[in-house]
Amino acid sequence: MAVTGDRITFWFGCNILRHAEIIRLSILLLEKVGFDVSAAGGPAYCCGTSYDGQPHAASAMSARTVSRFNDVATKEGRGTVVTWCPSCHMHMSDIMAPGNPTSFDVTHITELLTSRADRLAPLLTHRVERRILLHRHIGFATHVAVNEGVHGLLAAIPGLEIVDGPAVPGHMCSALEAVPGALAKAAQETWDAASANGCDTLTTIFHSCHRAMAPTDGRQGVALRNWVHLVAESMGLPAGDAYRDWRKGGTPDVSAIERAGEKYYEQLVEPELRKAPVVT
């Protein structure tokens, strides 16, 4: 089914709020290829996938989120919900929609950008002289060919060399955290493959992988970038990475910490930022 018009809802998810620049750049990329984007995410648009232990609460979250997407589909003509997060995407397809009437379709951001590759290509004007290892998972292929999609998008960047990394289990790194040793093994294999293949950059597809790999940035001369960062680089756009920098010992501005609440920062954020890396 074709995207109904150019008005879309970009459903970025929850945990990607750690990576504000990825949200902003994703919106920008969608706009640059011609979409009118309304972004939605955070806890108010939770899919409920993390609440298997609270089925009633999860069900209510699903219903609320679907209802909001139905509203904008009906009132604003935004009949396509564009996902970033594979958990949200799969949960919508497999569980939310069968339990709630929907007035919209879903597509993943990589599918939508691929469908407008002819509009994206002329914007990739800056050479990105990197040899990257693309960090891949085997999951999510049940719904979207995301590994191939990202590979295809990055292949249009002048100067970029791409090596496909080992396809590790799970749909993204956060899924592996619950199984002792699984995340460390997948991350180790991936960083080792980057070095063994002479890559200077490890490129993540999803936010949770980026989060897991961030403190290892620079290991054996291999830098960490998300695929969106690389597309932005090729468009000549600034593509900083605050989370990675904080995870490697940096700290947010004092004013930002005050704004977020010093107590919340110390109790909720600092322990995560100072956690030992999965791979050293």
Binding site: S59, G170, L176, V179
Partner: protein
Amino acid sequence: MSILPPAQADSTEAYLEASGPRLADLCTSCGACFDACPMVDHIDLRKSDVREVTADIRRLARGEPAGPAAVSWVAACTKSGRCRSACPEQTSGLDAMLLIRIAKQRALNVTHQLASKKDQKTFPRVKTFARLQLTDEELAKWL
């Protein structure tokens, strides 16, 4: 682009409630899902009796207690999706990944053979990260 399936129940809770026994009935306990799962090696279950484990998955999906191997397996699901494509009953409407997901939910909420590990600080943490980075306008729109 995914065309979403039509609603089959009044809520996701009701859908999952009804789907457990329905999917369990479609399953033949052949073990193809278990054999295809990359997590089985991580939790040292490769030598388990696949028919017994998958029969236990069906029991869990119906809300009945299961043996420790099946409980360990559903707890280790990372949504690799290999079970779904390996299942010979897929063409009959059996979504093996969904069956295993429902089995896990039953182990959490009905048989209580698994304890919930949900971090209650997830949303407060995410919101704090957002407040460190987003503009006032973004916060108003997105949080």
